[in-house]
């Protein structure tokens, strides 16, 4: 039981750190995109590379912060019934959901993406745009990263809920 608690806390810590880190990219996106607009309308300079970097940052933010958002319980729920339920019952829903819905999605997404990503690496795929960034293979790799993060997060959530159901967790709620 103690080992499970430590494992869950460890997975959460890694996912949360990644999420908090990429969150700062939203600031960089604002600045970079504003610069792109300023250069285009002020000086007639188009900077495709910088513009594509905004796309890269955007993708990195919403993918890599997903597990963090899951830990913070930010993903929208239809809670018309759930809000009246006991913490135990909610933990049961999340235990089943984590194992039967989220985990398969993460695993299948990873399995389906391996070929897709390997192909991009073999060609060291670059941007189709002239002047674009030559890192499309890295961008596509993010899909595998998020799949791994979500699979780990699903197990950690399930662990949390299991501990709650066993009454072993110090937390009243599976979420913090």
């Amino acid at each position: 039981m103690r080992r499970l608690t430590r494992l869950v806390a460890g997975i959460d810590a890694v996912n949360n750190a990644i999420g908090r880190g990429v969150a700062w990219l939203t600031l960089a996106m604002v600045l970079a995109d504003a610069l792109v607009v300023g250069l285009r309308y002020g000086f007639g300079i188009g900077w495709t590379g910088l513009q594509e970097s905004v796309t890269y940052m955007h993708a990195a933010v919403f993918l890599l912060a997903t597990a963090y958002a899951l830990n913070r319980d930010d993903h929208v729920r239809v809670d018309i019934f759930q809000r009246q339920w006991s913490p135990r019952r909610r933990a049961l829903v999340d235990l089943l959901g984590s194992l039967c819905l989220l985990l398969p999605v993460a695993v299948v997404l990873a399995a389906l993406s391996v070929g897709y990503v390997t192909d991009a690496w073999q060609r060291l795929e670059t941007s189709a745009q002239p002047g674009g960034l030559p890192f499309v293979y890295l961008l596509k790799t993010l899909i595998l990263v998020v799949a791994a993060q979500l699979a780990a997060a699903a197990l950690a959530r399930a662990g949390h809920c299991w501990l709650t159901l066993r009454g072993a967790s110090t937390e009243a709620e599976p979420w913090h």
Partner: protein, 456 residues
């Protein structure tokens, strides 16, 4: 085959009611149906191979980059307390008149909700900021609650709102699909900018209708909306008032204006708007590390939530159409009595009901891609359709007993405020909304005239 698609939709709705996150419910159920069907030989498993490139398409969709940027702008305005100061300044300005506080709430809702567009955030903010003041000033509880709910959802239909960005993107691809299915070769396009411009007149008309109703209520029931006594109003000079009103106003006008005159795409305007919001916060000395951490953190989490639903919905629609669900809905809508009008009525009613359990993000990503191509193929105008859907969803969020806005307000309202009073308070606003839908149905020109003027 199409029956399985229908069954899948039903199962998704049922599992959603357990309260497991929407994004992963959509993806998980669709996956189980896909894998189960493949094992039974009823589903072409190869279809699932399209998933990585679908996800990649979402990652590189340039239109949707506007979403995090608009969220950043809205969260920045909220965290730097510019929203609260705006509300207070306006309350000073209008408070001396009967009904003035109500009018303030509607105007601030229209201005600020526009930038965040997340129903919950706006209703909660307004509920926390304005509701205690209104109740303390002796406003009728129902009227106060109704005004706040209506004002909080108003931002959905007033550009620039996130709902219009998402709807615009979905309708644009539905329009391509509809034209392709009709064999049109010189395809026309619609953009998020078109939808922004088209929503402007209906949005402003709705604000005007809300204000007229409040003025009427203040005249008809004077005790329900008393004026704030002179000695209780803050000592705010005209200069302070202007310094608080003007900057956020200028920001919204600049963002909208640059899109309308065609100088910037919505994404670019959103970036400039976010930068502007940072400058406004800096000018007030509220752009330290603490604020930036909070704003970036919340922006990333909200963005992630939106895009995960998009990815879940895209897996759902992949499986749904592989089972022939798209085709079935298309045929069903095409064979309804009453042609385009009948189909439109059915779709609007279905979306209204779905609005009780789903937020606009899920409806936009799951339902609109299925129904919009069929409706557009019947010759409906894409911009008009988008605006009608937006107003319809806004109405749904206001409608008891399941409207989202009502739940959010209930969450922050004092226990002394009866739920029944909230319900009674929103009824007039719901009637205004329905009236607006009728008006736009009778005169589609209210939507299509301005985009035609600006772009053609």
């Amino acid at each position: 085959m199409a029956l399985i698609a229908g069954l899948m939709f039903l199962v998704v709705c049922l599992v959603l009611l357990t309260g497991y996150p929407v994004a992963f419910t959509l993806a998980g159920i669709a996956l189980l149906f896909g894998l189960g069907g493949a094992a039974a030989g009823a589903f072409p498993a190869g279809e699932l191979l399209a998933l990585p490139s679908r996800v990649f398409g979402i990652m590189t969709n340039e239109t949707l980059i506007a979403v995090p940027l608009f969220v950043f702008m809205g969260v920045m305005l909220e965290r730097s307390e510019i929203a609260r100061e705006l509300l207070e300044a306006m309350a000073t300005l209008f408070g001396r008149r009967r009904g003035g506080l109500g009018i303030t709430v509607v105007l601030v809702g229209a201005l600020l909700a526009a930038s965040t567009g997340i129903v919950g955030a706006t209703v909660v903010t307004m509920g926390l900021l304005a509701l205690p003041t209104m109740l303390r000033r002796g406003y009728d509880p129902g009227l106060s609650a109704g005004t706040i709910c209506a004002a909080g959802t108003l931002g959905q239909v007033i550009p620039p709102s996130i709902m219009l960005v998402l709807l615009g993107d979905v309708i644009a691809s539905a329009y391509q699909q509809a034209q392709a299915s009709m064999g049109v070769f010189s395809m026309q396009t619609v953009s998020v900018g078109d939808l922004f411009v088209g929503a402007l007149i209906p949005g402003l008309l709705t604000v005007a209708a809300y204000l007229l109703y409040l003025l009427f209520a203040a005249w008809r029931w004077p005790t329900a909306m008393p004026a704030v006594p002179d000695d209780e109003r803050g000592e705010t000079t005209g200069l302070v008032l202007i310094s608080r009103l003007l900057p956020p106003l200028a920001l919204i006008v600049a963002v909208l204006g640059s899109i309308m005159i065609g100088a910037a795409t919505p994404t670019e305007a959103a970036a400039i708007g976010a930068l502007g919001a940072m400058l406004l916060a800096a000018a007030r000395g509220r752009l330290g590390r603490r604020e930036l951490t909070a704003v970036t953190d919340q922006t990333a989490r909200l963005t992630s939530m939106v895009f995960m639903i998009l990815i879940g919905a895209s897996l759902f629609s992949l499986v749904f159409s592989a089972y022939g669900g798209d085709r079935a809905v298309h045929d069903l809508l095409g064979n309804l009595p009453g042609g385009a009008l009948g189909a439109m009525l059915v779709v609007m009613a279905a979306m209204f009901l779905l609005g009780f359990i789903l937020d606009f993000i899920e409806i936009t990503f799951v339902v609109v891609p299925i129904v919009a191509p069929a409706l557009l193929a019947m010759g409906l105008d894409p911009i008009w359709l988008g605006v009608m859907m937006a107003i319809n969803l806004q109405t749904s969020f206001l409608t008891p007993p399941f409207g989202f806005a009502l739940f959010y307000l209930r969450g922050v309202a004092p226990a002394s405020l009866e739920t029944g009073a909230i319900y009674r308070g929103v009824v007039p606003f719901i009637l205004i909304q329905l009236g607006m839908l009728g008006l736009l149905a009778a005169w589609p020109g209210l939507v299509t005239w301005l985009p035609g003027l600006v772009y053609r």
